[in-house]
């Protein structure tokens, strides 16, 4: 047996926009052990949520993550609506789908760009982010903000999408498809991308289940699980089927995200077509009491909120479990056996978000 070497990966690393430290144990160039340490960006948001009134927490929870801001607000609003037994107007449910899917497109394109960047494929990185820029502009036009959308509210949404804006959104997304086709062609055929991603960081179906993987990390290992199949918001009326790949490697996870971009475009199209007329928010009265759990499918996977109310304006407890938190144990399963040079791309392939994870 070769002597082992311990290599620190992170907390600052070129492929990671956020900090995590992986303590890698190597035999020659092969990883044989890994221990993560996090805690660099812990902000105590769960505690902060107990100290503020439940109605003002929407803005706080959106700031758990800059990339998936809307879905955090949505999960929080759903959990409070569940405690208050409030009914959301049908139009608001469709608008929640539109905002959620715009967010998913921008997040997945961000990932595809970061992957290309990690592979040293700068032109592909720029192409991905050029397409993403158009989507972020759409978010600004519809929600009023490029990153923190602030369009979700307890009881509905804050901003409507009128007929003209709906038509422009659908037309813009349709115009992006040919650009996305070109990105898909490169990702599908480029020798460098395939060599660095196919067969790397394999997570089997059994390992994905045992370690609790969620989102594209889980679906890339052949498990057809997606919270959208539970029909929250208006997903139950839009004919949603999860996208699944079976290889379980970095490439499979990437392909799931790429295919989900197309799927999200179609979901937005259908939601805008089927969206009923009516109010966009219900009037909310009372204070939350009891316990409730809300789940949504964030771009990185299942996001779960647990809340306990005691009849006052402050929640007694708010618990948040984000997708990257669930995908860290699967990452620790993927890394042993890989080459040191593959660690950055495999780590990136779970699309990690540590601000989310640490809250």
């Amino acid at each position: 047996m070769s002597p082992t070497t311990v290599i620190p990966f992170g907390p600052q690393h070129p492929v990671l926009p956020e900090p995590i430290h992986l303590r890698l144990t190597l035999e020659d160039e092969t990883v044989v052990g890994v221990v993560p340490s996090i805690g660099y960006v812990h902000r105590g948001i769960e505690k902060a949520a107990e100290l503020r009134e439940y109605s003002s927490n929407v803005f706080l929870m959106e700031r758990v993550c800059g990339i998936c801001s809307f879905v955090h607000a949505l999960a929080y609003c759903q959990v409070v609506e569940g405690l208050l037994k409030a009914e959301v107007p049908p139009r608001a449910k469709y608008l929640r789908v539109v905002y959620s899917e715009l967010l998913r497109i921008h997040s997945h394109l961000l990932y595809l760009g970061l992957l290309a960047d990690a592979l040293g494929f700068e032109s592909l990185f720029m192409q991905c982010w050029r397409v993403r820029e158009t989507v972020v502009d759409l978010m600004e036009k519809t929600a009023g903000s490029r990153v923190i959308m602030s369009s979700c509210a307890i009881g509905g949404v804050r901003r409507d999408i009128g007929p003209a804006l709906a038509e422009e959104t659908a037309r813009t997304l349709a115009g992006l498809k040919p650009q996305l086709d070109r990105i898909a062609e490169v990702l599908g055929h480029d020798y460098g991308v395939r060599q660095r991603a196919i067969g790397r960081g394999v997570l089997s179906r059994e390992q994905a289940l045992a370690t609790g993987a969620v989102g594209p990390t889980q679906r890339g290992s052949g498990i057809a699980e997606d919270v959208r199949t539970t029909g929250y918001a208006a997903y139950g009326e839009l004919g949603f089927t999860p996208i699944v790949e079976t290889a379980g490697d970095s490439y499979a996870r990437t392909v799931v995200r790429l295919r989900e971009v197309y799927q999200s475009m179609d979901l937005i199209q259908r939601a805008l077509e089927k969206m009923p007329e009516g109010d966009i928010a219900a009037r909310i009265r009372g204070n939350p009491e009891g316990e409730f759990v809300s789940r949504v499918e964030a771009p990185r996977g299942e996001l779960i909120y647990y809340a306990k109310g005691n009849g006052t304006r402050n929640l007694e407890r708010l618990r948040v479990r984000t997708p990257t938190y669930a995908n860290l144990p699967p990452l620790l399963t993927m890394l042993p056996g890989c080459e040191l040079a593959d660690v950055p791309v495999i780590t990136l392939s779970i699309d990690p978000c540590f601000s989310c994870t640490e809250r």
Binding site: H21, I38, F292, R295, P329
Partner: protein
């Protein structure tokens, strides 16, 4: 009380987790609640599209066995609950000794609403500085960050 919730005793936790694992359940997360004289710990599992919850009530001086031997992904959740709330979980596969999120000299058990009694006055996770409270799996993990020594550059700047 949540939908699909079962209340069990602490002694049945590991066996019940194993039974759920064999049924194909996925561990979603666990939530710890400070209920004054005791903790409530709720384990959330997903079985196909439905959630199932196991609730334990545990006296603050009592210990809860780790389920990281059944669900390997539980180690982060259990470390967090132990560190931020003070639930005394034993046998975690990787024990961060109260230093997953918090730093030395910072707040202890920020999510707890009352003090833990019956454990010799020591807060969980507050062992000797620089030492892990956990088993020998990570005895020397000090994370190499946030040195308690003042940064000399700050003094120059001031």
């Amino acid at each position: 009380m949540l939908e699909n919730e079962t209340t069990i005793g602490v002694e049945a936790l590991v066996a019940e987790a194993e039974r759920l694992r064999q049924q194909g359940a996925r561990l979603v997360t666990a939530t710890g609640l400070d209920e004054g004289d005791h903790f409530d710990v709720i384990y959330h599992f997903a079985l196909e599209t439905k959630l199932h919850h196991l609730r334990l009530s545990v006296a603050k001086a009592d210990t809860v066995p780790s389920i990281s031997g059944v669900f390997p992904g539980a180690f982060l959740i259990e470390n967090e609950m132990k560190e931020l709330l003070g639930v005394q979980i034993t046998g975690i596969s990787v024990d961060y000794g109260g230093r997953l999120f918090l730093v030395e000299g910072g707040p202890e058990r920020p999510l707890a609403k009352t003090e833990v009694s019956g454990v010799g006055g020591q807060k969980p996770g507050a062992g000797e500085p620089g030492k892990s409270n956990g088993p020998a799996t990570m005895p020397t993990m000090t994370f190499g960050r946030r040195s308690p020594t003042p940064d000399p550059r700050r003094e120059v700047g001031q």
